[in-house]
């Protein structure tokens, strides 16, 4: 932001940043940082802090980030207690310093969730999400076996609803914001994306059962409708995906029960 005198407005900040090595307990470190331009992104502010640490010969803070345009889902950070910070609908990389005040103390922590162990400082292991997708978050279609694209008409409202859910970037803010560390918003988004499309029907029940089973095994908690996930989702995914996940799960379980032949269940394999 440029002031009337043509100079960029800057902030002086106090930062409390989490420091931790893998498998060891962590603690906050306090640092001061001056002359942070209000036009800088939050991660650019962290870059400035790290450059200051290098000058002092100290180790930098490790944090995850990549595209810095809000789409790759790699950046995390709990800022003043809120995953991705105080502004709704943005990732940490798209949070700008004009949203903070001069002299403010900012607390920066990693995602806090049992299923996301800390790797170093602010970087956590989110491989639980990948495991959930690997167990069913796909439509089985071998390369080369697809029919002509327009043979599968998809009504526009259905395509739009699938797209709404498919916007999930897999960042994990839903888990980090949830008291239970639940991944239901993430799983619900993927279930909604695939289960409502005509292409996704063949594997609908199997997908739902398998993803829920893997979600539980990966250490994510249950949903008790706090709604924090919706409030902190940078892509504004809404709670109704969880309702639909519950519906599809119930449907699949009931069908599984009534189609049981007495042989051991294969659901979720």
């Amino acid at each position: 932001m440029v002031q009337d005198n043509g100079k960029e407005q800057t902030l002086a900040l106090k930062l409390r940043v989490w420091r931790q090595r893998r498998g060891q307990p962590g603690a906050f470190e306090e640092h001061s940082l001056a002359a942070v331009p209000t036009s800088a992104s939050f991660l650019e502010m962290m870059d400035m802090l790290n450059e200051q640490l290098i000058k002092a010969g100290k180790d930098t803070f490790a944090f995850d980030h990549d595209c810095r345009e809000g789409i790759c889902g790699m950046c995390s950070m709990t800022i003043n207690g809120m995953p991705h910070g105080p502004i709704p609908g943005v990732t940490t990389c798209q949070l700008h310093m004009r949203n903070f005040r001069d002299g403010e103390t900012i607390t920066v922590e990693p995602w806090r969730a049992r299923a996301f162990p800390v790797l170093k400082d602010l970087a956590v292991d989110r491989s639980g999400f990948d495991k959930v997708i690997q167990s069913g978050g796909f439509i089985t279609v071998r390369t080369g076996s697809a029919p002509e694209a327009n043979n599968i008409p998809v009504p526009k409202p259905v395509a739009d609803e699938a797209m709404d859910a498919a916007e999930c970037i897999g960042c994990g803010a839903c888990v980090a914001s949830c008291k239970n560390g639940s991944a239901m918003l993430f799983v619900g988004a993927k279930i909604n994306h695939l289960n409502i499309l005509p292409q996704g029907q063949a594997e609908r029940d199997r997908r739902t059962l398998s993803m829920v089973k893997t979600m539980d095994e990966a250490g994510f908690g249950n949903c008790s409708n706090y709604g924090e996930c919706q409030a902190h989702c940078p892509k504004s995914i809404t709670l109704d995906v969880i309702a639909k996940l519950n519906r599809d799960y119930l449907r699949a379980r009931v069908k599984e029960f009534f189609s049981s032949t007495g042989k051991p269940s294969k659901g979720g394999d």
Binding site: T60, E69, C72, Q134, T143, N150, P155
Partner: protein, 642 residues
């Protein structure tokens, strides 16, 4: 250097089918005996790894991110081209081929480009079946939009997140294979070197970014799909981690690097705002469908708010200069036109380093014509992103945009089979050089990544493996592997031991300043010669004075950055040398000495070839070789969009 392009004989339209019919096969029962390494998990890498695993090969896939879903293909916004002709507006495979080869200013390999256009239609089929939620008409069929450099509507899109949705499609196919145990996925692993045994690529050496462990992996074939080198300019639209290390390390082991000077500057990015900026953000080219680009006619108006510049005092310079394509002129042309008006002193926006570097992208006419709701439906997420970054509402005042480095057309040299000059080293997606010539058209990168991954590499890699005895791959205890592991460990130790005074980011910024100023949108002999000298000095300084904090046995972002910057320094010299020795202008490569009143002036007699660089040793300039580009069916003409 062996640069046999292996273009099949016969008419262009039959080459790929004839070639496929001759490629050798591997029996399904034997495929599991072959180990395929895929490096990178973007569109090309994920698609290739999933396809190889579906065929029955044992596959290992590596990426530096924490999940394969995060590769930078995800950031592509606008769309993907395919010659479906669903709009009945005259599209065809040949038309897409012609547009692409012309868009590349006749510096791409004809046969590769034709194949790309041919397989484009299968890509859409594949992605739709995977559940990619492309935009639809109310009848339920697929919608299209138009894009730069074409006069038909052939671009398929998923809001402003087409790359994300296509990557999630490829990631889901890959994930399915990981779940089945047919792909072993190694995330947070960075390829730091290539291992050759008897002249063939037989494995790689990686560093586990979490534990610091340096490990080697042996395989029957190595497929590198690690993207482009745009971050040699420091500020670009690339992700922070995008780097040239995998391809440059392969280059150091003997792989030719083709056309490094072909870099694409994208016209519609948010202008630079300050010194601490780490990244430039692209606004999709699709915005140019409805936005009009202008600057004030008079310098005196440049400091005024846009609303105070009357209609008759505005210069819609793209519409004026290129009436038939207007605001949809190809990227290189639109970028240069923006630079030109800013160099004349007619730029708008904030003054950075004494200049206003920005032009308006104005939606007021579109809002009047379509209504704000419709503009919001088409571009809402982009307007939100713009407001988020700049704090300005683009429904009320025009956006300000300026060109930024976006894509790199150069890459490792490959033949028609996408095999480099090192047998057993295949290269897909942005990492290779083959399809876009000197400039890439919008919505063609996604097309190429998926074409290589789904529909080309599975055939050509199989042909290579059919010639390799199954079970013949060396153990990674072999001396060749141990030697490369030692090289990598030595280099890591060296970086950590210099303990100088300047951070890796300092060098990266300094490198970017030189390359952007001297090898950016406009280049000339004196500037490039100076840049090479400056970069050599900077490289020397780096190896004496860099300070890398952190330790080798944990997550160490500064060590990662230092290694990448070191390779970028060597690479930057090669890029400038390539620009210096190509004494013509073509596509994104604009030498100010070679122009016709601002338009690129090609020299087909001297330069209708790919320049391929060979590594000659530490601190030596690389050697230049050429692959002549033979045009069998295309008439080379002056590229005009007027």
């Amino acid at each position: 250097m062996n640069l046999d392009s292996k273009i099949p004989a016969g008419p262009l339209a039959d080459k790929w089918n004839n070639h496929k019919a001759k490629l050798r096969l591997v029996n399904p029962a034997n495929r599991r005996k072959y180990h395929v390494i895929v490096v990178g998990s973007g569109l090309a890498g994920s698609a290739a790894a999933a396809s190889f695993a579906e065929m029955g090969y044992e596959v290992s896939c590596f990426c530096y991110q924490d999940s394969p879903r995060r590769a930078h293909s995800i950031a592509a916004q606008g769309g993907i081209n395919a010659a479906k002709n669903y709009q009945n507006d005259g599209d065809s495979v040949r038309r897409l081929f012609q547009d692409t080869i012309k868009g590349g200013d006749y510096r791409a390999r004809e046969a590769n480009v034709y194949r790309l256009a041919q397989v484009s239609t299968s890509i859409i089929d594949q992605c739709v079946a995977q559940g990619v939620p492309f935009a639809r008409e109310y009848g339920g069929l697929l919608a299209n939009r138009s894009f730069g450099g074409a006069q038909v509507s052939r671009t398929f899109y998923a809001r402003g997140q087409t790359g994300q949705q296509l990557l999630i499609g490829a990631y889901s196919a890959l994930s399915r294979q990981i779940g089945l145990g047919t792909v072993k996925m190694y995330t947070r692993h960075e390829m730091l070197d290539l291992v050759l045994v008897d002249g063939k690529a037989k494995g790689i050496v990686t560093r586990d970014l979490v534990t610091g462990a340096v490990e080697s992996w042996s395989s029957d074939v190595v497929v590198v799909c690690t993207g482009g080198y745009g971050n040699v300019f420091y500020l670009s639209t690339n992700a922070q981690g995008c780097n040239v290390t995998a391809t440059f390390r392969a280059h150091r082991r003997g792989a030719g690097f083709a056309n490094p000077c072909y870099t694409q500057i994208h016209p519609t990015c948010i202008p630079v705002h300050g010194e601490d900026q780490s990244k430039l953000t692209l606004m999709s080219e699709s915005l140019r469908n409805d936005g009009r680009v202008w600057v004030p006619k008079n310098k005196a108006d440049c400091a005024k708010p846009a609303s105070e510049v009357p209609e008759e005092a505005r210069d819609y310079f793209l519409e004026r200069k290129y009436p038939s394509y207007g605001n949809l002129a190809p990227r290189d042309i639109a970028s240069r036109a923006a630079k030109e008006v800013c160099d004349e002193g007619r730029g708008v926006g904030q003054v950075v380093d004494g200049k206003r570097l920005g032009v308006y992208l104005d939606f007021s006419a579109a809002i009047k014509r379509l209504g704000e709701a419709e503009v919001r439906a088409r571009y809402g997420n982009l307007f939100d992103m713009y407001e988020n970054i700049t704090g300005e509402n683009a429904y009320k005042q025009p956006m300000r945009i300026f060109p930024a480095v976006h894509y790199t057309m150069g890459g490792l040299w490959v033949d028609y089979n996408l095999q480099s000059n090192i047998p057993g080293l295949f290269v897909g997606g942005e990492a290779n050089f083959s399809d876009h010539g000197a400039n890439r058209l919008g919505a063609s990168a996604l097309m190429q990544g998926l074409a290589d991954g789904y529909f080309v590499l599975p055939y050509t890699v199989t042909d290579y493996l059919a010639g390799e005895k199954s079970g013949s791959r060396p153990s990674n205890d072999a001396p060749e592997f141990k030697a490369v592991v030692k090289d990598v460990n030595d280099r890591v130790a060296k970086l950590l031991s210099i303990n100088g005074t300047k951070s890796p980011r300092y060098y990266h910024k300094a490198l970017g300043k030189i390359t952007w100023e001297k090898c950016g949108m406009a280049r000339d002999k004196a500037g490039l010669e100076g840049a090479i000298r400056d970069l050599q000095a900077l490289r020397k300084d780096f190896w004496e004075n860099v300070k890398v904090v952190g330790s080798g046995d944990a997550l160490a972002p500064e060590l990662e950055r230092a290694g990448r910057v070191a390779d970028f320094l060597d690479f930057g010299i090669m890029m400038c040398l390539d620009a210096l020795t190509r004494e013509e202008s073509c596509g994104g490569h604009f030498r100010t000495e070679f122009q016709d009143a601002g338009e690129a002036k090609r020299d087909d007699a001297q330069y209708a070839h790919a320049a391929v660089w060979q590594w000659t040793g530490e601190n030596q300039l690389p050697a230049r070789h050429v692959e002549p580009l033979v045009y069998e069916e295309t008439q080379l003409s002056t590229r005009s969009y007027k």
